[in-house]
């Protein structure tokens, strides 16, 4: 397993790099800059950093006003508050205007841990994915988070990038980051496991467990949930009997839904979704929570086995 790194650390450093080369970059935070690591940028560029206090709605609409005047605005807070709290501002004032606002939210998903349900965003990808113009990226590790931030900087228009709270192990193998493109991390047969975020690592672990039984599923990393790489899903669907989709998110509206929609539209295949099943989170360690909510490699393996046995 690769090195353990905070993706949000890498985000903070990447912002500083971008701030050095582009004066248009302005960074906003809502009293969480030490957690989101926008504090790194604040230290280097105090004139271009604005702490808006605990007022996310104002922050999002302020970001829109800055973007309307030619700024490239990075906005950070926790996923819960960036999406649910300020949804109307993000929808009507950032996305509808197609403004250059990059929402990089940290503390997404169950692995927020001990803070519990109020701070564990499990619907954020669904919210953001349903908004026109919005691009959505859920990086699997820190290097991918950096690529996602750079892609959001390069491309005009709004982005939502979801990072976690905990350190993540860097993938040992990867393909060049291309916005809107997934890639096959491990080729295989019969079943394809599709994952994003920290679940990519679990998918690889599941494949390892299954290979002892002679089962070798594909593992596919889809970092960009939107625009969604339907072509890759169809290409793989031609070679497999079914899909298992894994995400640290509700099974409603996120990556699982994206894959289900693509398959239903283009080439139907049976599908199992690994994710949080219409429930809120709770306090606990990240490891305990992933286990309790069925988001571990053994849950993925079980889903693969059940698909292999499944008859129409």
């Amino acid at each position: 397993m690769g090195e353990l790194v905070y993706a949000r650390d890498v985000y903070g450093h990447t912002l500083v790099e971008l701030g050095k080369k582009d004066e248009r970059i302005v960074v906003l935070d809502a009293d969480l800059s030490s957690s989101t690591r926008t504090s790194f940028f604040a230290k280097e560029f105090p004139q271009r950093f604005l702490n808006l206090g605990v007022a996310e709605q104002n922050m999002m609409a302020t970001a829109a006003g800055l973007a309307a005047c030619g700024k490239i605005v990075f906005v950070s807070t926790f996923s819960m508050f960036a999406t649910a709290r300020a949804l109307d501002q993000v929808r009507n004032t950032i996305a509808y205007n197609n403004f250059n606002v990059k929402i990089v939210a940290t503390h997404g998903g169950l692995t927020v841990g001990e803070d519990g349900a109020s701070h564990q965003a499990l619907e954020d990808v669904a919210f953001m994915r349903s908004i026109p113009n919005m691009r959505v990226i859920v990086p699997a590790d820190a290097p991918e988070a950096k690529e996602a931030v750079l892609a959001a900087y390069r491309e005009e228009g709004p982005f939502y990038i979801r990072l976690g709270r905990s350190k993540v192990a860097s993938l040992e193998k990867r393909e060049k980051f291309e916005l809107g493109k997934g890639y096959i991390l491990a080729a295989g047969e019969d079943i394809a496991i599709v994952a994003c975020g920290i679940m990519v690592k679990e998918a690889l672990l599941a494949r390892q467990m299954l290979s002892a039984e002679g089962i070798t599923p594909y593992v596919i990393n889809i970092h960009t949930v939107k625009p969604f790489d339907k072509d890759l899903i169809v290409e793989v669907a031609k070679k497999v009997k079914g899909f298992v989709v894994c995400e640290e998110h509700s099974v409603t509206g996120g990556l699982g839904s994206s894959v289900a929609e693509a398959l239903a539209d283009l080439l139907p295949r049976p599908l199992r979704r690994i994710g949080v099943r219409d429930k809120f989170g709770q306090s606990g360690s990240p490891a305990q929570l992933l286990e309790a909510y069925g988001l571990k490699a053994n849950n993925i393996s079980e889903a693969v086995r059940s698909l292999l046995k499944w008859k129409v």
Partner: protein, 276 residues
């Protein structure tokens, strides 16, 4: 009053009459829209577009332009009238208001020349304007930012987040105007959700507060002038207005918040507004 000032006030009063006729006609033609709150802010908008704003209608995206944002987006017929009379687009576009494919959407949209940011969902415009003010401050440019808010809109919590932030950042390049026409869709603001004491609220948030008769052009011009010389804090102009101003049977009538006049009402209204 000196002659130059007198001529300016007369010119603006004339623009107001023209704008009112255009508003009534375009909403009648559209068959829906918000006449009450469009007619109440006519003097405010006329002063801005024909006397206060530093802008170039034939160069809508000129980078040094002052910014205007209509937070009470439903009053866009008034904005469209001002933009068209300024020369941002031809008058004939007004007759396509709210129709499929129109440059003029039911609420402001960036496809309209002169509209920098869409609005319609209330309570967000002051925050947008703060972003524009901060951009000017960061760039060390003299651009001013004007934001027109409704009174009912002040019931949105986002407005007060913004009020706090604008004073915190000492945005003296930001001028908010409240079109205080005292009515919202369901009835009088006082009865639905009282916003008084309004001046005290803004003062407590750290703003310079001016209260004016929102139909008195001289008072409005004076207030805008005082905004430009205020340093260290944002300005709010609380403009006391009459909903539906200028059309006798629309004045202070809640029903005209959000419905178009009938054919007969349109004719009567235009006659009152001096249409030949």
């Amino acid at each position: 009053m000196n002659k130059e000032k007198n001529d300016k006030v007369k010119m603006l009063a004339d623009k107001c009459q023209q704008m009112r006729r255009l508003i009534v006609k375009m909403i009648a033609e559209a068959g829906s829209g918000h006449p009450g709150g469009s007619l109440s802010c006519v003097e405010i908008m006329a002063c801005l577009y024909f006397a206060v704003l530093n802008h170039r209608p034939h160069q809508p995206y000129w980078s040094q332009r002052d910014r205007f944002h209509l937070s009470k987006g439903h009053a866009c017929p008034c904005w469209y009238a001002a933009l068209s009379l300024s020369g941002y687009f031809e008058e004939k576009e007004l007759w396509t208001l709210r129709k499929f494919g129109s440059l003029l959407q039911g609420h402001p949209d960036r496809r309209t020349p002169g509209v920098d940011v869409a609005s319609g969902s209330l309570g967000q415009g002051l925050s947008v304007s703060i972003g524009m003010s901060l951009a000017a401050k960061i760039d060390q440019e003299e651009r001013k930012v004007y934001c027109l808010l409704g009174d009912g809109e002040l019931e949105e919590g986002n407005v007060w987040e913004a009020a706090m932030a604008a004073a915190h950042f000492k945005l003296d390049n930001l001028c908010a105007i409240v079109d205080y026409n005292r009515f919202q869709i369901d009835g009088s603001v006082e009865k639905i959700m009282n916003i008084e004491p309004l001046g005290d609220k803004w003062k407590a948030f750290g703003w310079k507060v001016r209260e004016v008769d929102g139909h008195n052009i001289e008072e409005l011009l004076e207030a805008f002038g005082s905004f430009k010389t205020t340093k260290g804090k944002p300005t709010v102009i609380i403009a006391h207005t009459i909903k539906g101003k200028g059309v006798s049977f629309m004045e202070n009538v809640v029903d005209f918040h959000g419905r178009a006049p009938t054919k007969a009402e349109t004719e009567k209204a235009l006659k009152e507004l001096g249409e030949d």
